[in-house]
């Protein structure tokens, strides 16, 4: 995808977003009269921001249509995309699983999966995973007394 095409798509998305902000602010941010003092209430700043984003996005859209932005290509090959998607998925599963499995179990699984995906040697994975967990336990749980989520297990 060229940068120009990307700018067109992003600015179109931003136009939709700003319209959504304006409509939502108008309809859903319900403001009793008592909340509005001297013409300014909770809706005012978001409405102004919505309009500013809308105007700037239209400007960006028109200037990208007119070809004023660079024709540089946005580089992201298949292998890179694959690893990013795996990373995001693993991170999302880790966060969702943490309250269920408990911090330590979820973290151990996350680390093993990610180290494996990043092609770290197996021997090293078996040293690094418990090492990290031990360090976290000592620093955060024992010394700083941060209470990490405990789920079905630990």
């Amino acid at each position: 995808m060229t940068k120009r095409k990307a700018d067109c798509i992003v600015s179109a998305m931003l136009i939709c977003f700003s319209v959504a902000v304006l409509v939502y602010t108008k309809c859903k941010v319900i403001v009793p009269d008592a909340y509005v003092s001297y013409g300014i209430g909770p809706q005012t700043l978001p409405t102004i921001l919505g309009w500013v984003i809308l105007i700037l996005s239209i400007f960006l859209f028109l200037s990208s249509l007119a070809g004023k932005t660079e024709e540089q290509k946005l580089a992201l090959d298949k292998q890179e995309l694959k690893i990013i998607l795996i990373f995001i998925a693993a991170f999302a599963v880790y966060i969702v699983a943490m309250p269920v499995l408990g911090f330590y179990v979820a973290t151990a699984l996350f680390l093993i999966v990610i180290f494996h995906v990043l092609k770290v040697e197996k021997k090293l994975i078996f040293i690094l995973t418990p090492g990290t967990l031990l360090a976290v336990y000592v620093i955060f749980t024992m010394i700083c007394e941060v209470y990490l989520p405990s789920g079905l297990f630990v």
Partner: protein
């Protein structure tokens, strides 16, 4: 009075126990500051119970050492991993990490340390000599002044837009919009919570910052590692020490940044993140190489670090002279003083001169303890840059999750870092800078609250924002900055292009 008391104060501070306390507090502060999500405030609060059985002076020295160490420590991970340990070092992350990637981690860390010490020392001197005067200026600050200060801060967005003002402004507006989520600060009206109780208090600064900077950087690293073969690693060297000439070249820059840090720090409720962004902006405007900012500039690091560390001493000014804590950290310190039976206020320097001057001299000594500890540890810290990314990235991801969770013991905040991480990863791919989002997010609430409270004060008369001297000052420099930015970023390139076309 200080000169008469100085020998006894120094004897007290340099007692073996107090020396131990200073070094221990500094080490703890640096460690806590370096861990993403654990802030200097949290460090001070964590160590408060340890001070209950101590005498007043060692107790205060411990808390001050943790505070200063925490602010400095946040910059270490900002430089090495682009993961600011505290919001104060967010402005250091871009340039520090760019230098680390080029194999100059050690010199970047040394610049961070020296500039932090410089800012801290100037801040102590201000606390010593100008505290009553600065406190008087701080007292003049009402909602209209805060609104104008925030407006001035928001003009920084243009200079951190990376050459595309439109995209920078959109990013800044998105940041301010994010700050609108939750209960409206004046009326309590609910905005954009979509029925979620987690959003009622708004988005928290630390998880938002961790997501925008740290998680996005983790995804960036993951992308880079996508093409590595098994066993192949991505490691860079630590580089050479910082040439002292380069440090001394930053003297004017650091003095200017320290003054900004002192003035911002003395204002209750502002914080060191604002000071460092304003300092970097001021440095960029007077720099001979503004194009290097964001790509690995020592000037930017010096400005950011001198600015944010100058806040530490200045934040004590309202506490010691007025008895008003300017932020959460100084509120915890106020608690420590009250526990010891001491109530700071206008009569503090005359009622408890040994404690008051002891704190100031102690702060000065702490800066040199920071220099010593940092100097010894920098070489070791820099070696983090040598750890292969495949090993470091997943561990940093776990630290980010802990940091986000630890702020409020909230699983929601861990989800927030992923969302903000995706925002911080994707937007730069389309040319949108992330720093304006953070600036907008930090200043949005101050700006809105200032405007609305100001209008309540003036019963709806907008002229309140242009009729008070401090407001006029901030608006004037904001307009000056805006004018020069528009000239530099828009008019000058257009003129140059036109000239080239005519010549062609």
């Amino acid at each position: 009075m200080l000169i008469q008391m100085l020998p006894s104060i120094l004897l007290n501070i340099f007692s073996p126990f107090n020396i131990f306390i200073l070094f221990a507090g500094m080490a703890v502060g640096i460690t806590i500051g370096a861990l993403p999500g654990l802030t200097a405030t949290m460090g001070v609060a964590l160590l408060l119970p340890f001070t209950f059985r101590m005498d007043t002076m060692p107790a205060l020295l411990l808390l001050c050492a943790v505070y200063c160490g925490g602010i400095y420590g946040g910059s270490i991970t900002a430089v090495l991993l682009k993961t600011p340990g505290t919001p104060a070092s967010a402005a250091t992350a871009e340039d520090g990490f760019a230098l680390s990637k080029r194999g100059q981690a050690r010199s970047a860390l040394e610049m961070t340390l020296y500039a932090s010490t410089f800012g801290g020392v100037l801040s102590c001197l201000a606390l010593l000599g100008l505290a009553p005067q600065i406190a008087k200026i701080a007292l003049e600050f009402g909602p209209p002044e805060y609104a104008c200060l925030a407006f001035f801060g928001l003009t920084i967005i243009i200079s951190v837009s990376g050459g595309n003002i439109v995209k920078g402004l959109i990013a800044g507006c998105l940041g301010i919009l994010l700050s609108c989520i939750g209960l409206d600060p004046i009326s309590g009206g609910v905005r954009y919570t979509f029925g979620s109780a987690n959003l009622m208090a708004g988005l928290q600064l630390v998880p938002t910052m961790i997501g925008l900077f740290a998680v996005s950087q983790i995804l960036e690293q993951a992308q880079r590692m996508g093409n590595l073969r098994k066993g192949e690693t991505t490691r860079v060297g630590t580089g050479n020490p910082l040439p002292m000439k380069l440090f001394f070249e930053q003297t004017v820059n650091m003095i200017r940044s320290s003054i900004i840090g002192i003035l911002v720090g003395a204002l209750p409720g502002t914080g060191s993140a604002i000071a460092s962004f304003i300092s970097v902006n001021a440095a960029k405007r007077s720099s001979k190489n503004p194009e290097e900012y964001g790509k690995g500039s020592y000037e930017a690091i010096a400005a950011s670090e001198a600015g944010n560390n100058a806040v530490t001493g200045a934040a004590m000014i309202p506490l010691l002279t007025l008895g008003v804590p300017g932020d959460v950290t100084t509120a915890v310190m106020l608690g420590a003083l009250i526990i010891k039976g001491i109530k700071p206020g206008p009569a503090f320097f005359t009622s408890y001169p040994d404690i008051a001057y002891g704190i100031i001299v102690g702060f000065l000594v702490i800066q040199f303890v920071m220099l010593a500890v940092g100097f010894v540890a920098t070489k070791g810290f820099a070696r983090v840059a040598e750890i292969p990314s495949q090993v470091l990235t997943p561990i940093v991801a776990v630290l980010c999750v802990i940091g986000a969770y630890a702020i409020n013991n909230s699983v929601f905040d861990t989800k927030l870092i992923l969302v903000m991480g995706l925002v911080g990863f994707l937007l730069p791919k389309f040319g949108f800078p992330t720093v304006p989002i953070l600036i907008g997010f930090i200043l949005g609430e101050t700006f809105e609250k200032g405007i609305r409270q100001g209008l309540v004060m003036s019963t709806g008369d907008w002229s309140i924002f242009v009729s008070r001297p401090i407001c006029i000052f901030f608006l004037a420099i904001a307009l000056l900055f805006l004018g020069s930015s528009v000239y530099r970023e828009v008019i000058k390139p257009l003129r140059d292009r036109y000239r080239v076309q005519i010549k062609g």
